[in-house]
Symmetry: C2
């Protein structure tokens, strides 16, 4: 059985949990507490598995993969069914781009280590830090909502009528938005997709509150 | 012929230029000036092509793809030779993860819009802004250099002896590091890979100074 080094609230780990569940793959969770004692992800024991000091890390026997999107692409290649990417190259590119709109253009800027730098190195206030967090979600969701409004593949998910890599990224980002009380009124399509995903067991079992390390 | 909406100094556009050149694909460059007049990428004419207001955008007939990694994966699928990803799924995952170490975990935090927010919304000094920029490169390169030291596939490139998606990401990031005078002494493997890439025509023709909009 494979092991996912995870933190219940990590967006990136949450994406991989959704993908594993959608593909029906069992796995063990190895919790890495990102806050306690300065962060277990920064300790030598975890750095030996993932020198970046970030979660998730996916271990399957000799296989060690970091970076959530690389893990999900790997799962897609070795366990192709059910597919999390469409078959057509242009459609695959669109799904990957929508996933990256979140995983590259929202999440990294709001990541814990960045918030820590803002606070400890730049001395920004709690209010400024929260405004920063919300700003990058609103920027990203505004573009994403506009894309959802015009794309040819409208359906119950980000792209069409089956869950894809893009939904694996969207749902954890909406979780973060809700946690930071982002007003979702301007983003009805995003909210509707999230609500639909939440009806599915694969997404529910991946949720932070369903994790063994949930607080 | 396809068109790449590009800015000479954009890391993300630079990645795609390298990939197009490595695959021997001709393309037209449509320059989008990211600074002049508040940024052409934010004007309605460009937003109509890419609502995110970021470069690059790749247009080929009816095909419109944004996000540099999604564009390169698309090129890989429709023009598989020469390959920018290895054949083995684990090796592919490793290359994608190394690419994301740069494209998700360094570059977005140092992107122009983030630097603008630091300056205009948080009022940080020029020195603090530069320290921020360098900090995220040093963080990322430290982990990457450690990975390069231990990986089984050591060669002249990031992964093995042929250029991959990871080199398409590394070389533009080293360009940024040099521009901000990052001390590369602690990163001899990264510097050597960059130096080797610079000997190749595909990388040289993709460089900022070789672009039609270079200043």
């Amino acid at each position: 059985m494979s092991t996912l080094y995870s933190y219940f609230r990590s967006s990136a780990a949450y994406r991989v949990r959704i993908a594993l569940n959608l593909k029906g793959l069992d796995y063990d969770t190895a919790p890495i507490h990102l806050v306690r004692d300065g962060g277990e992800q920064l300790k030598p024991a975890y750095r030996a598995l993932n020198v970046n000091g970030l979660v998730p890390t996916f271990i399957d026997g000799e296989v060690n993969i970091h970076q959530s999107l690389a893990i999900i692409e790997y799962l897609e290649e070795v366990h192709p069914t059910p597919a999390l990417l469409p078959a057509d190259p242009v459609a695959r590119a669109q799904v990957r781009a929508l996933a990256l709109d979140i995983a590259a253009d929202i999440h990294p800027i709001d990541n814990l280590r960045v918030l820590r730098y803002l606070k400890h190195d730049l001395g920004v206030s709690e209010a400024q830090k929260n405004a920063w967090y919300v700003h990058w979600i609103v920027e990203g969701f505004t573009a994403l909502e506009a894309r959802l409004a015009v794309q040819s593949s409208q359906g119950r998910f980000v792209f069409g009528d089956t869950p894809t890599l893009a939904d694996c990224c969207l749902v954890p980002q909406v979780y973060n938005a809700n946690r930071f009380k982002v007003d979702m009124t301007p983003f009805p399509r995003i909210a509707a997709i999230d609500a639909h995903c939440q009806t599915l067991d694969a997404f529910r079992r991946a949720a932070p509150e369903a994790q063994p390390d949930a607080e």
